[in-house]
Symmetry: C3
Subunit: 366 residues, 3 copies
Amino acid sequence: MVMKRSNPGLPPSFPLRTRNTAGLSLQELAGHVAGARLEGDDPELRIQGVAPPAVARASDLALLSDPRYLEGLQSSGAGALLVRAGLEKKLDDPRPRLVVPDPHAAMRRILERLHPEKPWPSGIHPGASVDPDVTMGAGISVGPGAVVEAGAVLGDRVRVGALAVVGAGVRVGDDVILHPQVTLYPGVVLGDRVVIHSGARIGVDGFGFVFEEGEHMRIPHVGGCVLEDDVEVGANVCIDRGSVGETRIGAGTKIDNLVHLGHNVRVGARSIFTAQVGVAGSTTLGSGVVAGGQAGIAGHVKVGDGARIAGQAGIIGDVAPGETLMGFPARPQREFLRGVASVYKVPDLLRKVRELEARLAALEGE
Amino acid sequence: MVMKRSNPGLPPSFPLRTRNTAGLSLQELAGHVAGARLEGDDPELRIQGVAPPAVARASDLALLSDPRYLEGLQSSGAGALLVRAGLEKKLDDPRPRLVVPDPHAAMRRILERLHPEKPWPSGIHPGASVDPDVTMGAGISVGPGAVVEAGAVLGDRVRVGALAVVGAGVRVGDDVILHPQVTLYPGVVLGDRVVIHSGARIGVDGFGFVFEEGEHMRIPHVGGCVLEDDVEVGANVCIDRGSVGETRIGAGTKIDNLVHLGHNVRVGARSIFTAQVGVAGSTTLGSGVVAGGQAGIAGHVKVGDGARIAGQAGIIGDVAPGETLMGFPARPQREFLRGVASVYKVPDLLRKVRELEARLAALEGE
Amino acid sequence: MVMKRSNPGLPPSFPLRTRNTAGLSLQELAGHVAGARLEGDDPELRIQGVAPPAVARASDLALLSDPRYLEGLQSSGAGALLVRAGLEKKLDDPRPRLVVPDPHAAMRRILERLHPEKPWPSGIHPGASVDPDVTMGAGISVGPGAVVEAGAVLGDRVRVGALAVVGAGVRVGDDVILHPQVTLYPGVVLGDRVVIHSGARIGVDGFGFVFEEGEHMRIPHVGGCVLEDDVEVGANVCIDRGSVGETRIGAGTKIDNLVHLGHNVRVGARSIFTAQVGVAGSTTLGSGVVAGGQAGIAGHVKVGDGARIAGQAGIIGDVAPGETLMGFPARPQREFLRGVASVYKVPDLLRKVRELEARLAALEGE
């Protein structure tokens, strides 16, 4: 049994990309990628997608960014290849190819043309709850069930996904995308082009208590929470508001799923937090910092510009700019790896020292 | 003051199990458990629940899976015992008992009879937003506030919990349960009998950027995200969609709360991910893999069938089938534990070597 | 273009604190803080906020809890200072000051007066779905889109945030705050003054399966989940219900964002779980336990009262009361740190032992 149920006027909850079914010719694609060189005899071949060699079809470009992908190439159904410059010399394959300096950069350009963003219908879904005291720019879309509270200000072309909550007094810049189920606590400020994925919580009351009269008593959190332009926040991320100061994430910083950033954390521009990283309160990170998955950074420390923190590392003190740290407590990567390697030599060393002791005792006994 | 407010027709947001208040006799229960042996003189005793010995009442079976639970037994109010075979010989207790080869398997069978699943009223809550272009099977339930977007296809007896979002073009098999607040991003595909717990986000845009012109630029994520039959996903889990390929979770794999699986991750059948595990992008895991809590697995590695990864382990390279790994960077468990134990012998070793040096110097001076 | 849209009667989704724009005099504030001493010649100066020295304005108290904040003081625009007793002797600054034994405790008292909680309009939003069979106390507020299922009992002055789900048969005490998007699974019990932040999932089916006939089969979870008085739960936290017993979190325990507590976990009173901690099933923790960020605790262990578990530590066995543990597998902190420090001496030790061998061989050869 198949039934259908009508509920006209429902906008989609977030932008789904479309497929350019006509595709583009190799020649056209080459024109969109800086430094691309087209090789082979079929510049008019139409391409509809990019795919790993193993699953690519005749209308796909197979992505070859790494020599290890050359193996599977022969059995690939790909119609053409997208090859990192240098790698094409190792190819013994008749298919036409785009040779590019950076295949991932090329893929980005090509995918944007092969999968244009779906047009986004503006309007407010009748099932949304929008306070009368909200200021909205042009071309805004508010999805079903979304809640926008009093005093909120939304810029042009903002998309509020289904069932998202925009708290009282929140200010949102232009071209911001809030995916479904996001919560912006009251007073949060987002710059332009910020993207927040489903289930992220921004501006949460921080974890601040004082122990008085035998109980943990909450310190009111009255500080701000600002995400500057082009910040992207992954699904189910939590970012706390400031206690009396501000939590601030610098322009262009990208944050992966399930990251936690505590109260008063400040992050510079273009930093990268991969999944499940945690940063405790009042820590300051510079620009261009990269933190690997599940890394943890203690509270009240300073991490310099361009520092690199390995996955699962535990940072408990300041980090100099440009340093690469690993392990718990974190050390410079080379020192850590040498230390770890030496651990596994200790059992041998124990044996050797016992033997030395015996030989020495023998000598002493002479 | 107590007030009531009417909103008739509200289906529950997810299946709550009921209690079979009449209970079943020990004899009847024994009939439902393969290999069970009923001992004692009251086969007609009616049982209404299973409980730990400390809180069990006269109508309960006390669960005795482990010798350490024998201690608290004398003061237990349990009317009867559910005992692992072998353990009953250590019992000096007059109560009737079911002796079974696997008490947890027995408990599962018994609980399913004592707590039958609540009947599930089908229908679409008037507060749900369902696009007219949705195809639905028989006996579907859609809870209050849920959103089902254009092009979605839902199989028979699917239950969409309150405030869940089913994105455009999602395909869902039969007998799937989406708990409240779940988000399925557009294009996600779920097999039959998949269960998704509250707040999980499936098919999230992966964390893929290229650094161009001084900025991290998002690579469009146009790949798929497939959860095969009988996959269960815990609360607030995040699973990213593929970039150009596919993220795919094999049949019967179970995923605990707050796990992150990155873009293009592929998992075989019947694997287990306990809470807060993270797997970075493009990693492939086999069947029957078990990853302990908070374990992290780097991107682009291969983990063989049946590998076991200890809690908090950090995997940064390929793992052979059946291996058991521990620590960061992860090593075979025995090697890791021997290494760690030897660390704590180093201070002694340092003293000993200093002493050897002194004794040697004394000999050399002679 | 600015448009407005009317949807009158929308209550805010959760309490936003207000600003007491008139402020209070230093004299008045001193009267609210036990042990405060007012120094300087302007007791009538009106204060409207507390701020870090760097951003404080003339109407702010600058918080000086630590000597390192003295540096930036000269350029601070603060009108007055909130100083830890003892620190004021190091100050060479003409501004009036409140000298207090505990600046954070003082800040709590002062902020509560400067930022009173916003009055909370009671009532049920017309967009909420409340079952007719719900019992509600006085002064309750239910936000837009919230769902309250059959059999739920809500105490006085409970605030159910926008789009939150209160499952069937849930019991909630007085003065409880559920922030937006929270899910309480059926049967959960909350004491008085419990606070649950956005996206937390309470009473989730635990991760319990038995392997039968080649598949992981779910064990029905029919146990309870109880959060006692004054428990606070962070954003996107997951707490599982008991399998047949109970999960219970003791009074006054505070839980930070993204924490996972498994089925049957029992926690005593006034414990602290910082962000991303994970506790596996059936583990028992005492009162006053503190677990640092990303710490993991295995299943079926006992952690004594007042134990302190360092960030990222991995606990795999019982912990005695009052112990402080660090590392994986966790050890007493001093032992762990001495062990780690000694690791980095092993490369030197290896060299030294090789040298000793050579010298010994030379002696033996004589």
